[in-house]
């Protein structure tokens, strides 16, 4: 029992609720939200150290022992994701201060942002399938508000579709939960893992597993990504960045959790399908990224490629592949936030997202240009930046299991990603300078450049100093590949109940 486990979930909620009262006091809201995010980051660092020293931390809510009560579980995988979430959220928040606009700030932007973070943290921490649904909904409802806040024509049009897709997938989620409850009679993840292991994963169970895969694929944009390019390109930059960094990753986390903890008995069926879906996602995403000449579209398709690549790590189902997937997940959260902020900055400066109308920004904005270059290389996985290590491990993982096609597709699509992102760099920063500094639509300032600079520094630091987090990633991989560690932490040493 460890009460700190629940803190990342409730700190943002409490801070958000306080802010709702002080609607007009923007300064207080900003301070409070920074403070709440920093607190979440601090708690997750302390959790990481506790898990390293004492093993997986759990909290049985209200003292009701698992499997009867709701369990909150923090293993190393969730703790690492929590820390990354708080880092990304902090920088997106600072970016929002000067870019989001007074109007949105007064209409509960900060409370909604914090509720979103709370939902994301809750999804990472929960040890109960129904509670996962609830946390998903907390996250999704906040995202509905954030995506439509402002009410421009484009936003309204796309948010309607976004909500519809998610409402339907939530219904499917409940459907899958109902079936699983009928078969196993429990919803606690650790208990589910035991029951499935006892009864064996037969055809019926695998079908339910695929239903879950469909639901989470919809959220993670794995193959079912048709809704993503539209809806991620309409909200303001800071919101799009946090969506790209966090929302799809929650779906990926859920797939990882279910298919390493519960449905891991038939990898030759389930993980093969996951691998094929990942491969198709990578190919289609890369084609989209190469084809468009619009900054927003290129960036959103890059989100999809990233999802496919992380999933390839899971499909390999080796310790090497999983380790790579965790490295790449951390990298992807940081780099997607960074590249969206950078792309958003270009659009903010020039007032257009069409590449053919932008040229020669490097003359007036050298720092922005060089940071974009670093981010682009990191996105494609050039050493020594942060994307490299994850790519190496995932590719080695897929080669180890003999699925050379998956690794090869991963590498080829990386090249396409590099081309697509270099297209943005060359078109917008090279060439003749059309517009002088005072003709630009917007300006850069400390509040927008600081988060971009910090995230760029982080992607370099994460690449050079990967040794520093290696110990944590190794623990996370180990506990993912040994479900019994999770079960023992939740239910106890005597798992025969």
């Amino acid at each position: 029992m460890n009460n700190t486990v629940i803190l990342p979930m409730i700190i943002p909620v409490i801070a958000g609720l306080i802010m709702v009262i002080f609607r007009k006091n923007i300064r207080l809201q900003r301070l409070l939200s920074i403070f709440a995010i920093l607190a979440v980051g601090g708690v997750s660092i302390s959790l990481m150290n506790q898990i390293r020293n004492e093993g997986i931390q759990t909290l049985q809510a209200g003292g009701w022992e698992a499997p009867y009560g709701i369990t909150i579980v923090a293993d190393m995988f969730s703790a690492i994701l929590l820390l990354t979430t708080s880092i990304v959220a902090l920088f997106c928040l600072i970016f929002a201060f000067s870019s989001i606009g007074r109007e949105r700030e007064e209409h509960y932007f900060y409370p909604m942002f914090l509720f979103l973070i709370s939902g994301v943290c809750g999804s990472f921490l929960t040890g109960d399938l129904f509670n996962l649904f609830v946390c998903f909904e907390v996250m999704l409802i906040s995202s509905y508000v954030l995506i439509s806040l402002g009410g421009t024509k484009l936003q309204l049009r796309e948010s309607i579709k976004y909500i519809l897709i998610n409402v339907i997938s939530s219904s499917l989620f409940l459907l899958a939960i109902a079936y699983l409850y009928a078969i196993t009679g429990t919803l606690n993840l650790a208990h589910l893992s035991l029951r499935v292991a006892e009864a064996g994963q037969d055809g019926l169970m695998t079908t339910v597993a695929f239903l879950f895969l469909i639901v989470f694929s919809m959220k993670a944009a794995l193959f079912l990504f048709f809704w993503l390019p539209g809806s991620y390109s309409v909200p303001p930059i800071a919101v799009a960045a946090i969506f790209a960094a966090l929302l799809t990753k929650v779906g990926i986390y859920a797939i990882f959790r279910l298919f390493t903890l519960v449905f891991y008995h038939e990898p030759e069926i389930t993980h093969l399908v996951i691998g094929i879906l990942g491969a198709i996602t990578m190919v289609l995403g890369a084609i989209g990224a190469v084809a468009y000449w619009d900054i927003k579209k290129i960036l959103t398709y890059n989100v999809i490629v990233g999802v496919g690549f992380i999933i390839a790590g899971l499909a390999s189902f080796t310790s090497m592949g999983m380790m790579g997937a965790i490295y790449y997940l951390i990298h992807d959260m940081l780099i997607k936030a960074l590249i969206f902020l950078l792309g958003g900055m270009i659009i903010h400066l020039t007032g257009t997202s069409k590449l053919k109308e932008i040229s020669g920004l490097i003359r007036n904005h050298p720092y922005l240009g060089w940071m974009f270059f670093v981010a682009a290389l990191s996105l494609a996985g050039i050493p020594p930046l942060s994307g490299f290590l994850g790519k190496v491990f995932i590719t080695r993982g897929t080669f180890e299991t003999g699925s050379y096609w998956l690794g090869a597709i991963g590498l080829i699509t990386s090249l396409m990603v590099l081309y697509s992102i270099m297209k943005i760099f060359m078109n917008s920063f090279w060439g003749e300078t059309y517009i002088s500094k005072d003709m630009e639509k917007g300006t850069t300032n400390v509040s927008t450049m600081l988060p971009i600079g910090c995230l760029t520094a982080l992607t370099i630091a994460l690449g050079l100093g990967a040794e520093g987090i290696h110990e944590y990633v190794q623990i996370a991989t180990e506990s993912m590949l040994n479900p019994i560690m999770y079960i023992e932490a939740v239910i106890g040493e005597d798992p025969i109940r």
């Binding site: 609830v134 509905y144 049009r157 909500i163 519809l164 409402v167 459907l175 109902a178 079936y179 409850y181």
Partner: protein, 112 residues
Amino acid sequence: METSMSILIGVLFTIGTYLILTKSLLRIILGTSIISHGVNLLILTMGGLKTGGPPLLGQHDTTFTDSLPQALILTAIVINFAVTALFLVLSYRTYKTLGTDNMDKLRGMEDE
């Protein structure tokens, strides 16, 4: 009992799917609402339909009703209520701003 419930759930899903596939926004929202009712009934059915037993384990009672599905449904109803309310408000706003509730016209143009 289970059979008739299954048929009912199937009918609800059919109607919901039909409504979601229509072009009018309001019908689509009603469709999602009907589907989620179907899902709630499904959870109830999946928990096992028993009559006559209290949702508590007693020393003398031989039968009891599983109360967990009902708790799940309660939560699901509340969430669905909130989402539907938000969805309705947003669609009204969309109708006011864009002047149409036809999904064909909400498709979006290539050059905007």
